[in-house]
Every structure is written in C-alpha cells, then in structure tokens.
C-alpha cells in the first residue's frame, strides 16, 4: 500500500476521517469501495500483529472449518486473507445451507471425525454436543495468556450473549454460572422484536403495538387494511425453531418459564400456569385471526420473505431478519423496527436470543492452531470489520455497538434499529432451561401450538396435555 492510502485508512480507523471521505479519497486514488474495505482491515490486522503476541506460532498449519451459509460466514470468508497474512496459517472450509447444516455437524461429530477443527453452531446445540464430549470447553484457552492475545478482551463480549454460550452441563443448570464451561464463542446474535411496514401502518393509521393485546389488535387491523395480505408473520412449522423467536420472547416477558428446577435439581413442566395459558390463548387467537393462512409450514424464511414482499404488515421475529429484508426486496426501505415487550407491566423487552457461535471439535488434531483462528474470528477487529463493512449484525461485542460509524451506518438505512437494540439488549439472553431434551420438548411444544391454532385442542387442555407429556419424558430420561 502506498503511504497516502495507508495514512488515509489509518485516519479512518482512528475515527478522524469518515467512511464516506475515506472511500472518496481512495476512489480519487483509483480504488473501489470493496478494495477500500479490505484495506481497512489489513490496516487493523497490522495493528493486531504489533500487540506482542506470537501470531506466527502456528505458521504453515491448516485448520478446516464447517460453516453455515449465512452473512456471518460471508464476513468471515471476506476477511480470511488478513488472518492468513497475520498468522501464516492456511484455512480451508466447507459451507452448507442451513436446511442440512446441523445434520452435517451431528454426523461429523457423532462419528468422531477429525475432518473439521471448528464449526459454526447455535448455543442450543451445544447442550447436546457438550455433554456428548464432542466439543471442548474454551475457558482453558480464553484464560490462558500464552494462548490468547492480550487485546482479545473477552469481557467486551455482551454479558447476556457470552453467558448464554456457557453451561455447566447439569440439566437445569443456570447459563453462565461460575462452574459453567464455555462451549462456544459468539460471532453475532439475533434478538426478537418487531419489524413492521411503515407504509402499511401509515395508510391504516396504526401505531406500533407495545404489548400483546395491542399486538393482537394491530395485527387484525393491519390485515383488514391490507387487501389480500395478512397482519403478522410468526413461525409455525413443526419444529423447535417455532418456539424460540417471538413466541418465547413474549412468553418470557410475563416471567414464564419452560421448566421448573427443584432444589434437588429435578425438572418439571412449567408451561401450564394460568399466566401461560392466557398468553398462549392470545398468541393462538392472533395467528387464527391475522396470521399467514399456511402458518403451520412457516419457517424463518417464509416469515422474512413475506414481510419483505409486502405480504405481511409486520413480523415478530429475529431483528436481523428484518434487517436483511430491508434491502433487495419489494419493501426495501419501507421496513422499520421497534422493541417489543409483550407484558404491559414489564419495564423492558426480554428477547430470547439466537446466537451464531464458533465451537472447537474435541476430535481436532490441531487444537492450539484452531484456537488462533477462533480468537481472531471472534475478536474485536474482525467483529468491527464485519459490522462496518459487511452484514455482521448484531455484533456480539459492546465496543462494536459503541462504534459511531457502525451506528451511523445502521441509523442511515435501518430506522429505529439501533434504538431497538439498545432498549432490548439489556434483557436479551437465552430464556430456555438448558437440558438434554431441549429439542424433543420444544418440538412437541410447537406441535401442540399447531393443534391449538387448528382448533384440534383447546388451549388450556392442550397445555395440560403438553405438561403431562413433558413430565413423563423428563422422568423417563432421569431428569424429572
């Protein structure tokens, strides 16, 4: 890089020059915006190389990754050259679409394959992988100054997100407890809030709902005003993934839990309380009155594309899904964001979160080198690069959320997004009870919800049946 370009990029990194000015300046020197992005992080990499840590210790070694097709993986791949330059290591990777991704991970790990050293995962999955002995506790690396660079700044990772990736392995054990093992390290995470179509709301004279009753009413009013569309998009397929986004976020806001944990560590169903029944009844009515006609087959994909195509007036789902639907869709630029607390008496939203994170395979034959990659990809430099230059939303580090350039970028194109994040982030964490039957019980919960919406079973009866079945399964597994 020539001196002039280098100085301009360094000035941008110091924050003395805006992104627009930097790109304009580099453009005058004959460089494109894409090249500018790479240069920016090359500069950050040089700074990282000078922190006294022996980044070249594993030079010449290769790590292999298993990645899910996702913008987070795209950000990782876009920045890989800088890692290779920093460490002298090679990185290979396989990318699979999400539909088959976790089957591939399960097959690779359960067979004890050493093909992949590290892989992308969700925190819920580590409740299976950890106790099965397939992944390593990363605390031993994070806490070892000989293996972790001094600028890694682990405490910078948002507390709720960091703790949600740590579990002591005891069924019902609190996430992030003192004795918890760090099964994965977050790349980025999703909160569940409202994404709504400004135009539809303006045309129908609707205001943004602030609790579950208003949500039910607004969804119905929006449907009536939409001429063929529907009021609200929420997931409905027969899968655990139907429970964890909007549904559980609202549920947790009423102080409700999935399971009770007794003093002696036994688990029992907690979803058939009066408050829970009331919440379920409202949720079911909302879908019956204003949800998608084919709701029971809707995954995140249909929920997102429908709001992007203008078929639904709003969705209560992952905020980043709204983020991605606000570009390149029929309704691009018309979507807005709002935090949502279902309980009118709650002080703030309490979104359940989904985390895309990195785990290290216990079968890796190259663990120290793998950790070099993991600390780089989850470190502040890559997080900042991904947030500023790519679509790594929501970054998991507080320093990145404090970055003015990142906030300005969001504020310019995604109205209300930053404010929504700031309001709901303090209450954001995983609201499920960590235990080995997570996928069984939540899938059954989703199937029960489907029966309720289809009027095959009344809400209170359905929840009592679900609770009885959950208790029987917990008992059978020796957990209840």
């Amino acid at each position: 890089m020539y001196d002039k370009e280098k100085k301009l990029v360094d000035a941008y990194l110091r924050g003395t020059v805006s992104r627009r000015s930097m790109i304009k300046g580099l453009g005058a020197m004959g460089m494109t915006a894409a090249t500018a992005s790479v240069l920016v992080n090359a500069s950050a990499t040089r700074a990282l190389a000078q922190n006294g840590f022996d980044w070249k210790k594993h030079s010449g070694q290769t790590v292999k990754l298993l990645l899910n097709k996702h913008p987070y993986a795209d950000a990782l791949i876009a920045n890989l050259d800088n890692f290779k330059e920093l460490t002298g290591m090679e990185v290979e990777y396989d990318v699979f679409p999400e539909d088959v991704y976790f089957d591939k991970v399960t097959a690779a790990l359960s067979s004890g394959s050493s093909e992949y050293d590290a892989f992308m995962t969700g925190a819920y999955m580590t409740w299976t992988y950890g106790p099965a002995g397939w992944i390593d506790d990363l605390n031993e690396y994070i806490m070892d100054p000989a293996k972790t660079n001094p600028d890694y700044n682990w405490e910078d990772v948002l507390e709720g997100v960091r703790k949600s990736c740590a579990w002591n392995g005891r069924p019902g054990g609190a996430l992030g407890s003192e004795d918890a093992k760090q099964w994965c390290i977050p790349l980025a995470y999703e909160q569940n809030n409202l994404t709504y179509n400004k135009n539809v709301f303006e045309r129908a004279g609707l205001s943004v709902p602030t609790n579950i009753d208003e949500l039910v009413e607004t969804a119905a009013a929006a449907k009536a005003a939409m001429n063929g569309g529907y009021g609200i998009g929420v997931r409905g397929s027969r899968s655990w993934a139907t429970i964890h986004p909007g549904f559980l976020s609202g549920y947790a806001n009423f102080g409700q839990k999935d399971l009770n944990v007794s003093d002696d560590g036994l688990l029992s169903a907690a979803m058939n309380t009066d408050v829970s029944k009331d919440y379920h009844a409202k949720w079911v009515k909302m879908i019956q009155d204003s949800g998608a006609p084919d709701w029971s087959t809707h995954t995140w994909y249909q929920v997102g594309t429908d709001v992007g195509a203008g078929k639904s007036a709003m969705m209560f789902d992952a905020d980043i899904l709204g983020y991605f639907m606000n570009g390149g869709t029929a309704e691009a630029g018309n979507l807005a964001f709002a935090p949502f607390a279902a309980n009118p008496d709650a002080a703030a939203p309490t979104p359940n979160i989904w985390i895309w994170a990195m785990s290290m395979s216990s079968f890796s034959k190259n663990k120290d080198a793998t950790w070099y990659f993991m600390q780089w990809v989850t470190g502040p430099e890559h997080d900042l690069f991904g947030a500023r230059e790519m679509d790594l939303v929501n970054p998991a580090r507080s320093s990145v959320w404090a970055d003015e350039m990142f906030r300005d970028k969001l504020a310019a194109s995604y109205p209300g997004y930053v404010e929504m994040h700031d309001v709901s982030a303090p209450g954001a964490s995983i609201k499920f009870t960590a235990q080995p039957l997570f996928f069984d019980l939540t899938t059954e919960w989703a199937a029960t919800l489907q029966k309720m919406v289809a009027r095959e079973v009344p809400v209170d009866e359905g929840l009592d049946q679900l609770a009885a079945s959950v208790d029987a399964q917990l008992k059978d597994a020796g957990l209840g």
Binding site: S110, R238, D294, S296
Partner: protein, 306 residues
C-alpha cells in the same frame, strides 16, 4: 498337424477347484457384510437406552424401547399415519396407473409419446416435487389455490391444515409415482397373449366382462409386483412429507421415517430412532413376504393352467 491341434498348457496364476467357489462368492459376501454390519448395529442400538446428549446414561435395556411403544400414543399414531399413507397412495396410484395403462394399451405413435411424457414426474426428485407443490399450493400466489378458489374453495389450506394435510401429500405422491405403476402395467398389458382376447371378441363378450375375467386375472402378477414396490416405498416415505410439513400440522403426518429422523438428528435419541426403524423393517419384511408368496403362488398356478 498334431502340434497345432493340441492346446498348449496355459501358464500363470491358477486357482484350485476347491477355492474357486469361495472366490466367486466373495463379492456377494462382501456386499452382505456391508449390509449386515449396519443392520446389526442398528439392532444393537435399538436394544439400548442411548441418547447422544446423555452419554452417561447409555446402557443395555434390551426390549424396553419396544415395550415402551405399547403404551406410547405417538408410536401408535405413527403406525396409523404410515399405514394410512401407504394404503391411500398405493390404492389411488394403482387405480390411476391401471386406467392410464388401459387407455394407452394400443400401440400407436401418439400413445407411445404420451406414455413417455407421463414418465416425466417420475424423473423429478420427490423433494423437488414437494417444493413445486408447496409453491403451487401457496395460499397467496399458488396456482392450485387459485383453481380451488374458482370452484368455491376459498381459503383452502392444503398441507397447512390438519384436515387436508394427508390429502395434499398423497396428491404429491400420486403425481410422482403413478407413472411408475402405469409403465409397469402398460408393459404387462402389452405382453399378454392375444388369443384369449381374440376368442372373446369373436364370441362378442362384453368389454367389461373381458376386463374382469381375462385382463385383470392375467395382469395380476404385474399388479402384485407394482404394489409390492410401491407399498415398500410408500411405507418408508420421508422426503415428500418432510419437505412439505416436517410431519405436521400437529402430529398428522409423523410417519416412521420422519419420526425416526427427528428422533436421531434433532433429539439425538439413537435408541428410540433405531427401534422405530426396526419396527418399520419388520413391517416391510412381513409385507414383502406376503406379496412374494402370493406372486409365486400365482406364477405356479399360471404355469399349471398352461
């Protein structure tokens, strides 16, 4: 001359007569091992309490997984759904396949062309066919939803309604696999001896009588073969149902394979998943035996008649 006539003894590697049979059967033996090792591994898993997320609780429980099925309503639902699905799909496909085969029985350029065209759905991967149908039945823009609305079925919810989910997946299965039955029966019809039909025509026997008394009995071995293949495949159905509804709504479509898949890959409950598949294997084995025995009996009978 004598030198030329006498073959020269061949040089090189020679296999003894005693070893030859074993060597010849070796490929089959290797193939058997490749099948039997996973099979017996699955049998062993089905006799264990084995959940990947609770490795500490893994132990032999012998027949407990199977005994649990007796009091497990979701198992009985799975059995019911699987049998209903197999019965409906194979029944409809046989009727349609036979009807189409009868229509195309006469050899002509047009009939040959149509029979080839009708094979197209069979060349579509069932998972892709499901995605096509999912789009066609979408309530917002699906062409089938539009047609349904034209005949007064407003808000027809296809696979997303418990009342019509089975109908929808059966329709997809019928669309994909009817050509299979059609082509098998068409080949059978065209291979039947012509004398009985000619004699019946000379005697002026009504066509319906010819169908019931001549065509159908002679076609039975083909019908049995087609039914055997389709029953085995449809009772093991996975891709169409999983791609359309993942077994929902509720537990309306949780057939054996979907339930076993979810048990293994989602719940990591290896023991239950393997036990379910063993039950499925037993059902398939039983049905295959019934069909093959009947098919053999029929063949013997036909040979005797001739």
């Amino acid at each position: 001359m004598a030198d030329i006539a006498r073959p020269k003894p061949r040089k090189g590697f020679r296999i003894s007569r005693g070893l030859l049979p074993y060597l010849l059967s070796l490929p089959a033996l290797l193939a058997c091992i490749g099948i039997l090792v996973p099979f017996f591994t699955a049998v062993a898993y089905s006799l264990q309490r084995y959940r990947l997320s609770q490795p500490w609780a893994r132990r032999w429980n012998w027949g407990e997984n199977y005994l649990n099925f007796l009091s497990d309503s979701s198992f009985w639902n799975t059995l019911k759904v699987s049998l209903t699905y197999a019965f409906l799909t194979v029944g409809v496909e046989l009727l349609l396949g036979l009807g189409i085969a009868l229509l195309l029985q006469k050899r002509s350029r047009f009939n040959n062309f149509v029979s080839i065209m009708l094979l197209m759905p069979l060349m579509t991967a069932p998972a892709l066919a499901s995605l096509m149908w999912k789009l066609m039945t979408n309530p917002g823009f699906g062409i089938l939803s539009y047609f349904a609305s034209l005949i007064g079925l407003e808000d027809f919810r296809w696979a997303s309604s418990p009342q019509t989910a089975m109908l929808t997946v059966v329709l997809v299965d019928v669309w994909v696999y009817t050509p299979f039955i059609m082509i098998l029966l068409l080949a059978g019809l065209r291979s039947l001896p012509q004398q009985p039909f000619e004699a019946a025509a000379l005697d002026g026997v009504p066509r319906l009588f010819v169908f019931w008394r001549i065509t159908l009995p002679m076609l039975t071995p083909f019908l049995l073969t087609a039914t055997l293949f389709r029953v085995i495949e449809s009772i093991q159905q996975f891709d169409i149902i999983y791609a359309m509804t993942q077994g929902g709504p509720g537990d309306r479509l949780t057939v054996f394979q979907v339930e076993a898949y979810l048990n293994f890959f989602q719940s990591t409950n290896v023991g239950r998943s393997a036990a379910l598949l063993m039950i499925l294997w037993a059902i398939t084995y039983f049905l295959s035996n019934v069909f093959i025995k009947n098919w053999l009996k029929l063949r013997e009978k036909q040979r005797g008649d001739i």
